[in-house]
């Protein structure tokens, strides 16, 4: 392989993948919406310069004589880069899965504690509660486990299914990732749902819309004091914007 052009081809592959993601509205699977415009502009610029570079005459390579080991490393690096580049244009875009939820521990870093406060939420209307996302509820659950607070508050949330660590058979989380910059920093948030033997009916990682209300968690094994008792659990497709920003 010629390392001289490898970089140009790698760059153009990223650029093509990026422009395509942007054109199909899927760039938000990887980066926060606030960077989309900047990313698209730079990708377009790189495309123009990249194409123009094809037209210049090829000069001689001034490569310093490299020893054998470093040549092997650079060939290996190039091969790995080629695999990733191929994956960029061949593997369909995807969201993060429950595997990442497991390494990052759901609701762990206090994400969104400031999103909703108990005092403000007490006075909200039912209509407002119906619009709460899993992040809103997760932030309330982190603040209070007083069942009286949750009674009469309708819940209607969507997310993908991950298993509760302490009672994986009977409790699952309706979860979402919260993104502040790009998918690398995704933090999982979610609310526990009490549904005995849920795995018989729903698949891990599949998207569902759950309605119901919060009650004292009937599961004795689960560490969560409060869980959502579902009225309906309806399978849905992956939303256009799977992450919360």
């Amino acid at each position: 392989m010629s390392p001289r052009f490898a970089g140009l081809i790698l760059a153009l592959t990223v650029v093509v993948a990026t422009l395509w993601l942007g054109a199909t509205g899927q760039l938000v699977l990887y980066i926060h919406p606030r960077y989309v415009v900047f990313t698209m502009i730079m990708a377009a610029l790189a495309l123009v310069i990249g194409v123009a570079s094809f037209a210049i005459p090829r000069g001689h390579e001034h490569d310093a004589a490299a020893n054998r080991t470093s040549r092997i490393i650079s060939v290996g690096a190039l091969a790995l880069s080629a695999v990733i580049a191929a994956a960029l244009v061949i593997v369909p875009p995807a969201t993060l899965t429950s595997a990442t939820v497991n390494t990052r521990e759901i609701n762990s870093t206090g994400v969104g504690v400031e999103v909703q406060s108990v005092e403000n939420a007490t006075s909200e209307s039912s209509a407002a509660f119906a619009k709460f996302t899993v992040r809103d509820w997760a932030s309330l659950l982190a603040q209070t486990s007083d069942t009286a607070f949750y009674s009469g508050k309708p819940v209607d949330v969507a997310g993908f299914i991950t298993a509760d660590e302490t009672d994986p058979t009977n409790v699952f989380y309706v979860s979402r990732f919260v993104i502040t910059c790009c998918a690398v920093d995704a933090q999982p948030v979610g609310v526990p749902v009490y549904a005995p033997n849920w795995a018989d009916d729903y698949e891990l990682d599949s998207w569902v819309r759950v309605t119901g209300s919060f009650v004292a968690n009937p599961s004795s094994a689960s560490e969560q004091p409060i869980a959502l008792e579902p009225d309906t659990v309806e399978p849905i497709g992956t939303p256009d914007e799977p992450y919360l920003f």
């Binding site: 392989m1 970089g7 760039l27 037209a55 001689h60 990733i84 870093t109 910059c181 998918a183």
Partner: protein, 347 residues
């Protein structure tokens, strides 16, 4: 199909002065190749069911996210690097700098105000500055300071933290101090060239050909090809390693360390090292951790992360020797931890 293209290039003979016709042919090949990539992408998105196991899929998603997030900054860095090398008269940059080495590095620390790229874009730019006549230690000061002391980073850090807990001030002062200290340390090295990789040192020694007219555009495109060939593989490898570590190492290990003044600083050093995101946006990333971690630890993350992380080491390796990078990592890590400790105990 990409590999095919690579192989084709390899077999191309070298014709320094090719005719217009052959240039147009190559342009056509380039355009056709790009069109083919678009078609492949659009078709595979509908037809291929990757069916990858979750962990592998997430590794790819995380790596892609680092690449896509860094790409615009890398391109911006390469463009600015080309501008500095080919389009800005030497006198503009080198002549306005003070003669005294300390004052010179201090002024260089603020170059980020005029060349606001984050750390990954900074690598090609620093390479450009070295080719243009910066010493190794001066370029190091620039590399370390510019990602922190630049308008975009200041704006995003301010947007995320305001004036709370000295985070912004400590980040700026910390970045400045570290950059100048490291620049001074490396300036004491006897053989500056030995700090650089052999390939890059050779590049720096090449005489600067004097340009006329259209040759400049030609040389600019030539530089674009050369810089992408160095930077892109490094970016790819760095991103994959960063993604792999995040899939394999539970984040909770770090977060449980958060409230201890010493351990939380070490946890932040590791997190900054692993996460590998650009300095222009890292303040937003770390903001949710502000409630669990002490402010000094946040400062450590914000000072260390822009300079050293997995992706950056891969990028820096294109230019500096491994030994220099190990020294750099240790020095910057210790200094960043020290600054964090001071903030933890004072603020």
């Amino acid at each position: 199909m990409r590999v095919d293209t690579l192989v084709e290039n390899d077999h191309q003979e070298v014709h320094p002065h090719r005719s217009l016709k052959s240039r147009l042919t190559w342009l056509g090949i380039g355009v056709a190749g790009i069109a083919a990539l678009f078609v492949v992408r659009a078709v595979t998105a509908e037809t291929v069911d990757a069916g990858l196991p979750n962990q592998l899929q997430d590794l790819l998603t995380l790596a892609t996210s680092v690449i896509v997030e860094s790409m615009p900054f890398v391109i911006l860095g390469i463009i600015l690097s080309i501008a500095v090398q080919e389009w800005v008269p030497d006198s503009w940059i080198l002549r306005v700098l003070p003669r005294n080495a300390f004052a010179r590095r201090a002024v260089i620390s603020f170059l980020g105000f005029f060349l606001p790229v984050c750390e990954c874009g900074n690598v090609p730019l620093a390479r450009g500055l070295m080719v243009k006549g910066f010493t190794v230690s001066e370029s190091m000061t620039f590399l370390l300071a510019a990602p922190i002391i630049n308008p975009i980073t200041i704006a995003t850090t301010h947007a995320a933290f305001g004036w709370d807990g000295w985070v912004l001030v400590a980040r700026l002062v910390g970045g400045f101090v570290i950059a100048n200290l490291v620049g001074w340390l490396f300036s004491r090295h006897n053989d500056q060239d030995s700090l650089l990789t052999r390939r890059f040192a050779a590049e720096c020694r090449l005489p600067q050909a004097h340009e006329h007219g259209g040759a400049r555009i030609h040389k600019s495109l030539e530089l674009f090809i050369r810089e992408t060939s160095v930077i892109m593989p490094a970016l790819f490898i760095g991103s994959v390693v960063a993604g792999a570590i995040q899939v394999l190492v539970p984040r909770s290990v770090l977060v449980t360390l958060g409230s201890n003044p010493l351990w939380s600083i070490l946890a932040m050093l590791v997190l900054a090292f692993v996460i590998s995101i650009c300095s222009n946006v890292d303040a937003f990333f770390i903001l949710p951790f502000a409630s669990t971690f002490m402010p000094g630890s946040i400062v450590t993350f914000l000072v260390f992360g822009p300079i050293i992380d997995i992706k950056m080491l891969a990028l820096l390796r294109t230019t500096f020797t491994t030994k220099v990078l190990v020294q750099l990592t240790v020095i910057v890590g210790l200094l960043a931890a020290l600054i964090g400790l001071v903030v933890n105990y004072v603020a």
